[in-house]
Symmetry: C2
Subunit: 305 residues, 2 copies
């Protein structure tokens, strides 16, 4: 049995601090590690949009490939280079490794990361993987600081699909997320009892300014009233927050068969404005909330398994 | 007169090393700077996908706003916070500053960067700005290491448009680039005489794997023959390289009136394969080529003005 948690979020993750000793212990249990290599791993987990992957035990038989990938060409390749991770199947002993990356904002960045991560999980023969997209977002009709666990991730037309042009043809993928995992996240929030967590739809856009109906971009050719009409329509469609990765994340989770959850904190209520007015300290505390939820989930699952 | 160059590329930019003394001199000419602040600037210019902006002289009259932005709401705001740059019009003296950022891969990342950069140029009252998108790409029918100066940036259907969903409606923007600037880049390459530079179309995608017809992603549901048909069709449409930012960059340049050029080196020929096989040393040398071209352009223009 092998289990990996993936969480992508922002800099200085307390999740790492909170879970690393626990995870390290489990990791060490199956594979002895020098404290130096653990320290090195910890040091590498910095920067905006870090990725957190832990594979505490690996017990699949050699030669076996995990079921997450779906590409017949992979097995014909002598070497597979995960270019953006700077890893290769010949140069690195992937079953004995796990990686973390820095990445950017938006669907293209998360797609690259997920393609290479899923291949990495496959090369490393992982199973029973659970994936989290965690981060920050703009709220819709909720108090700043509220955590939103995503029910459906929707595109800018409020449909639960992710579209990608492949060989010149637009492909449409459903963005259904794992209901049981979402429910577990809501239970975790109740158990913690430290902040509000709601279950709602998440709007995913390809642009932070015009794409999210902001009035504070370099370009704006709609009125404040048209903006509010759009945000109110989103609210009516069950949208509780807006971010820029969730449809691609949900679609890839569905395609790979990895249960996934999207857990984002809201930094402002977009029905009240466009700019974030909370202090740096308050925002820092908000950003820890999804990480606290996920850390709680990981701790619970380590204890019960 | 105020001039700013923007170049976004990869880590360890030799452009910085090559141009900083020159730019610093010009900068010092209009605004005395301590060596410490210059050193600090140089230190901040690191990391993958760095942005390089220089505003060597600022001579517009106070209160004047540059013409690049097109948003009537900006002037009504007491404070404008450029969230992703961590800058504000009240907390920072923007006319006396310039910024640089790290960002990710793809259209959403570059859109955020450009919105905030263009607002920054406006707040800083810059004029006569020239913008470069520089970086790496996959080639189509050209030798690895060839630099492509973009004629037209095209979407995955090979049309020179950038589409963005705004308030639920798909907006289409032309991706015309500045012809004179492109020609100047080609002249620079001739003058340098160090590597091949071609003038061709650039295909811009939202995904590195399926979106670029690769066979080495986590998912692949087309045949090797279908892949080649698509890449050959791209070649027939004048495409010489593939990357992930140029349509958005070109559209924003056109909308803001900033002359822009896209200058990317090819790391492989996609008609020959999907994985990059050149050594790290060779790739490092390739990555310097767009930077050398742009540095040459900057040096030439400093000398003649």
């Amino acid at each position: 049995m092998c289990r990996a948690w993936i969480a992508e979020g922002r800099a200085g993750d307390p999740l790492v601090n909170s879970c690393l000793p626990l995870v390290s212990k489990a990791y060490a249990y199956s594979q002895p590690q020098s404290p130096r290599s653990l320290r090195k791993r910890r040091q590498r987990r910095v920067g905006t949009g870090g990725l957190f992957v832990d594979v505490p035990s690996i017990a699949s038989s050699p030669g076996e490939r995990s079921a997450y990938v779906s590409n017949p060409y992979l097995s014909t390749m002598k070497e597979d280079i995960l270019y953006h991770f700077d890893l290769g199947t010949r140069t690195h002993d992937l079953p004995a490794m796990f990686g973390d990356v820095k990445h950017g904002i938006g669907i293209p960045s998360i797609l690259i990361m997920l393609h290479e991560l899923i291949k990495l999980l496959s090369h490393a023969k992982c199973s029973d993987v659970v994936a989290f997209r965690m981060g920050t977002s703009g709220g819709i009709g909720v108090q700043p600081g509220t955590v939103v666990v995503t029910k459906e991730s929707v595109n800018p037309s409020f449909n639960p699909v992710f579209e990608l042009v492949v060989l010149g043809v637009t492909k449409s993928y459903p963005t259904a997320l794992n209901e049981r995992l979402a429910q577990e996240m809501l239970n975790c929030s109740k158990e913690l009892g430290k902040f509000d967590t709601v279950f709602g739809n998440t709007l995913c856009t390809s642009d932070f300014y015009e794409g999210q109906a902001r009035l504070d971009g370099a370009f704006c050719h709609y009125t404040a009233e048209e903006k509010m009409n759009y945000l109110n329509a989103a609210c009516k469609a069950g949208v509780r927050n807006i971010e820029m990765e969730s449809t691609a994340f949900a679609a890839i989770c569905a395609r790979s068969g990895i249960p996934g959850a999207v857990v984002c904190v809201t930094l402002l209520d977009r029905l009240q404005g466009d700019q974030i007015s909370s202090s740096h300290e308050v925002l820092s505390e908000y950003q820890k909330r999804p990480q606290m939820l996920i850390a709680h989930y990981i701790k619970k699952n380590f204890k019960t398994k």
